[in-house]
Assembly symmetry: C2
Homo-oligomer: 346 residues x 2
């Protein structure tokens, strides 16, 4: 391992001179600069960032904690985060909580021990209103940007998030505009902040049209394909009379589509379907899915921007980014008969 001293000896100068040259510090003659640089190059010198950091008290390290890098939304965010982070001269530590609060805590403590200068965290949802690690982060004044909705225990941190109530209401409004009046909602887990926002958006859009949300049209669906299939089957079994279905995720929507088609319904002729998330590939599904897209990459760049302000100790605010409706072919106007029927019923 080549150190500064080695170069210094070789070049016949002091360690300080070498240090200065290699950091492009001022007050060095062009001659020594060149000589030292050449020798350093020849000897294959690589600075020791840890030693530098110990002295300068700067780690140039950022950490990102995600539930699971496999989630397409998370990975797009990570793409952006990594890209910008490196441009800014930071290295990026990655950890996954795997949706386990204790693993999250462990990972965060390790990040702290690495003296990270900032942290991007997509928090594991806890039922408790407090989480000791977050208290520690606060106490230590660690810069934190929360990715996604902020549960109670970290409400005071800044963050970046998609606007899920607006996103969800886009979906509902789209169906409304097509003429649907009975729109079923396959809702996510009630504890999930995203699911709550989606339900809120759905109801809000309904009320805008003076339609009173009907709880018999809201079905618990979870998050998976199977959850979606189950929920759709149940909806059919209950004879809810919906002409359109809005799901809390594309996976759920896909499962619902499968169940609906299996029951002999045509999409969108007999029933319309909207997903959520714009999962890659849904445009090639059996029925290309109309869905809501959150700007995943933009969320990443926004997170970096916020972090940058934090690092400069400038005031930073939580950013809420707008969602976008992606219309494909799983939605269309309701069938005339059913439409008449619902109108007669309304």
């Amino acid at each position: 391992m080549v150190r500064l001293v080695d170069i210094a000896r070789q070049a016949g100068v002091s360690v300080m001179t070498v240090s200065r040259v290699l950091r492009d510090a001022p007050d060095i003659s062009a001659a020594t600069k060149l000589r030292v640089r050449t020798i350093a190059q020849q000897m294959g010198y690589v600075p020791d960032v840890m030693a530098q950091g110990l002295r300068t008290r700067a780690s140039r390290l950022l950490g990102v904690l995600l539930p699971n890098v496999t989630d397409p939304a998370a990975s797009r965010l990570l793409l952006a985060l990594e890209e910008r982070t490196h441009e800014l001269g930071f290295d990026l530590l990655l950890a996954q909580s795997l949706h386990q609060a204790d693993r999250e805590e462990l990972c965060l403590r390790r990040f702290l021990a690495r003296r990270v200068e900032g942290l991007f965290i997509a928090p594991v949802y806890r039922l408790t209103p407090f989480a000791p690690v977050y208290a520690d982060l606060r106490r230590r004044g660690t810069r934190v940007v929360v990715l996604g909705p902020r549960p109670p225990f970290c409400e005071d941190f800044v963050g970046v998030e998609g606007d899920d109530v607006a996103g969800s209401s886009f979906a509902t409004r789209h169906l409304l505009e097509l003429g649907h009046r009975r729109i079923a909602c396959l809702a996510g887990p009630p504890q999930s902040p995203v699911a709550q926002a989606q339900l809120e958006g759905y109801r809000r859009a309904l009320r805008e049209q003076n339609l009173e949300p009907d709880d018999r049209l809201v079905f618990k669906a979870g998050v998976t394909f199977e959850d979606g299939a189950r929920a759709a089957s149940q909806m059919l079994a209950e004879n809810a009379g919906a002409t359109a279905v809005q799901a809390c995720s594309d996976a759920v929507a896909t499962g619902a589509a499968a169940a609906l088609l299996a029951h002999g319904l045509r999409i969108p002729t007999d029933i319309s379907l909207v997903g959520y998330g714009n999962l890659p590939g849904t445009e090639h599904h059996r029925v290309p899915l109309t869905t809501v897209s959150q700007p995943k990459y933009r969320l990443g760049t926004a997170a970096i921007e916020v972090m940058l302000r934090l690092l400069r100790t400038e005031p930073a605010e939580t950013r809420r980014l707008p969602a976008e409706l992606v219309v494909r072919s799983s939605t269309g106007p309701p069938q005339r008969q059913i439409q008449l029927w619902t109108q007669g019923n309304a």
Copy 2:
């Protein structure tokens, strides 16, 4: 920031004692152990891993360099890597090359400056047989596990990879067994090692059945949906008389499917189609895709196992993991007439 000295003062012992206690070193009385621990806890002590590392010359840092974390295969691998890495007590540095050789080089140099103890690299393919960074890695004796096929400039490193020639030949054999004789191949970029392996597997399976590979059945397809659509259209335009198509990726296969269906062909009734990669969601596509699956998660755990051997300076060998055919409904026996026609032609 609380340091060992602070605790030492508070507890009325030497720094060394505190250090020993906190590292669970032997030869410390239970009493002091307890006392020091309590105080450390109270003061909110967090060890400085950088300082520890500087002294012990161990960074407990592993680095992973991927082209793009957004690729589902890469992200599954990363999932496994992160999981195991943390269990082993290492932190994980993440970087993306974005398929750019110079960015790859930069990232690797930064990893070296961090004194990583090991590196997982999915190399950017270069046309040149040498790459200076890799020479440096060699010279410095950095532990490296190459992810995926190893281009010439890093052939001497150990790695883990999927068996793409076997995987590809599984696909071909499957079509052969269904009775297909004229199987088109939508091939990937000729420089890509994976694409080469796939072509090799395709040809090998054909020859096993004493069928001479026909170059007029091989079409350049690239890697995207659009590439696939283009290639399939070209195949149709050239009247190649294929009863089945085997694509170099699921994206290409999906594009091909779209083109084929647009031309009025039914899949698999009129023509069979096999993809490659088992992209998440392909089971819900317009035509659920028969495809070849590489054990992405297993590749990650295998990479860790190899790294572990490297870290222990035990001999380590490159691991090649078997692929698996996933039969869904894009493949079936060829139509009788066409079959007769091809037989008459063969």
